[in-house]
Amino acid sequence: MIAPAVDARGLVKVFERGRRTVWQRLRGEPDRRERFHAVDGIDLTVERGEIFGLLGPNGAGKTTTMKMLATLLIPTDGTIDVLGIDVLARPREVRARLGAMLSGERSLYWKLTGRENLEYFAALYHVPARETRARIDAALGSVKLLDRADDYVERYSTGMRQRLALARALLPDPPLIILDEPTVGLDPQAARDLRDRVRELRSQGRTVLLTTHYMDEADQLCDRVAIIDHGRIVALDTPAALKRTIRAEEVVHLEIGLVDGSAAPADEGAVLERLGRAATVARSERHNGTLAVTAHCSSARDFVPAAFDAARSAGATIRHVEVVPVTLEDVFISLTGRALRE
């Protein structure tokens, strides 16, 4: 039986917040630093040949998880097998089989050319000398950078640097590639281009594990998605199955004015209670005199008139209506009560 690409059990990573000075240590004062669970008991299995996404807001524990898989961090607790190899016991063997892009464009040498960067990393990845040139050309070709290979990296655009970082991850010809926020900071065209490259990796039979806080990216790219929040996986399935958990066909975003001229402000609770009779209020947020509401419903055609009636009867005014299909963001909101951006 072939081992999964990644198998993590009970993964925990605790960091300490705050400082303990040398003086405090010398005086033997108790350690009062706060213990913070960046990853809090994650179980994760990534099958071979799939694109698996870790979706969550900043600080959810995605990068910490990736770094533990990539041997850069030692877990506080739990076990990780990558391609059937114990990460803690045999980290060097794991690194030999793993392509990773964790810190993107910053991890390159800008005063070297793209090819010189890859020559250096090919040696670090123990690529045999006689294969190096062909391997570099193949990696550069797969990210469409062959024609700019001999330019200094400082002259590349951000998207090109990200692609070069991806080419570097391909140098060891790895069966598993991990990508941490691969499209962050890219313009839409460059992001689309990089996603195409990631799909090609899957078509070559490789496994891709990526993190993202872009719901569209996870939806379009991933075969399966784990939604992660506060260091825990709160849902894990295919994007379609996750969206079905919402039990709604459409999502309606409403902007409701609670204050209207000289009249007394409308009661926020009453507005939400009346809206709740016609749909599921997934999230509401008040900002000054405006209430932003996200509602899940089976039919926007039926819900929107009812929402106008509900607002009017509570003394409020609907100022803006937007009807959108269900996204993974809605799944995240329904699970955590917060938006991914918060």
Partner: protein
């Protein structure tokens, strides 16, 4: 390809990468010409002024303590050692720190290459600059101060330097290792460099130090290297006369390298536990 051979290739690639990056800053070459001339020349001129411009009694007093009347040669050899030491104390640590700040250290540590490559390869890339310093200083000594060094003595000095290289690089690597845990180690390097300058007889004979400080100096490899180079260049000691010192240097190198590797492993593990590998 065996693992050792693959790591050796990675080692060469890492040193080559450093040199390539240096090459992209051509004005750096000026510093190779400027400082090796200005710094020691200042001290030589000061020494000549204090000794009454070559007064025979003053020179005899100097020779009694330094073992030679060759003031310019004495100072230039001391400064060659100082610049080498500075390169080694700053160089490897700075290289690792730069990788850390740039964000490339994690990318290096994601590869299967031994972590020791990142520790020991950058110092090797500094070797050509140290050799360039030595050559420039030798030329200035000859052209500006009329000191002609015999070829045989120069070759013996090269042997002393070659034997001293491992211990010097082990010292540099020891400092580089601490970058992983503490990040910025500049102030400690400044302190240690100052101690070396004081204790190792860079600009004055060790005999000028108090007895207890001379004992401390005897525990530092640069003391032996600088004194042995002076011995073969100016005192006619020959390699036989410094053989015991050379053996001591080899022992120092082994000891410090073992300590550096151990410290590196401990601090690297600590950094992986605390998540400070990629910290600014």
């Amino acid at each position: 390809m065996t693992l050792l051979a693959a790591d050796a290739r990675a080692f060469v690639a890492a040193a080559r990468k450093e040199l390539r990056i240096w090459r992209r800053y051509p004005l750096f070459i000026l510093s190779l010409l400027f400082w090796p001339i200005v710094l020691p020349a200042t001290w030589v001129l000061m020494g000549q002024a204090y000794s009454g411009g070559g007064n025979s009694r003053a020179l005899a007093a100097f020779a009694e303590r330094a073992g030679t009347t060759e003031v310019a040669g004495f100072v230039f050899v001391g400064y060659a050692m100082y610049m080498w030491l500075s390169n080694l104390l700053w160089g490897p640590g700075t290289a690792l720190r730069t990788e850390q700040i740039r964000g490339s250290l994690e990318a290096v540590f994601l590869t299967p290459t031994s972590r020791l490559v990142a520790l020991f390869a950058p110092p090797v890339s500094h070797l050509p600059f140290s050799i360039a310093n030595f050559v420039v200083m030798g030329a200035v000594l000859w052209l500006a101060f009329g000191v002609v060094l015999p070829l045989g003595a120069i070759l013996e000095a090269i042997v002393v330097i070659a034997v001293g290289i491992p211990s010097m690089y082990a010292i540099g690597s020891l400092f580089a290792a601490s970058v992983l845990r503490f990040g910025e180690v500049g102030p400690i390097v400044q302190l240690v460099r100052g101690m070396f300058v004081l204790a190792c007889g860079i600009t004055f004979p060790i005999a000028m130090l108090p007895g207890w400080a001379q004992v401390g100096a005897a525990l530092l490899p640069p003391t032996y290297i600088v004194d042995d180079i002076r011995s073969v260049l100016f005192r006619g000691a020959g390699l036989g006369g410094v053989a015991i010192d050379l053996a001591l240097l080899v022992a120092f190198a082994a000891l410090i390298a073992v300590v550096a590797v151990w410290v590196f492993r401990v601090l690297e593990r600590s950094a992986r536990r605390r998540g400070t590998l990629g910290s600014y």
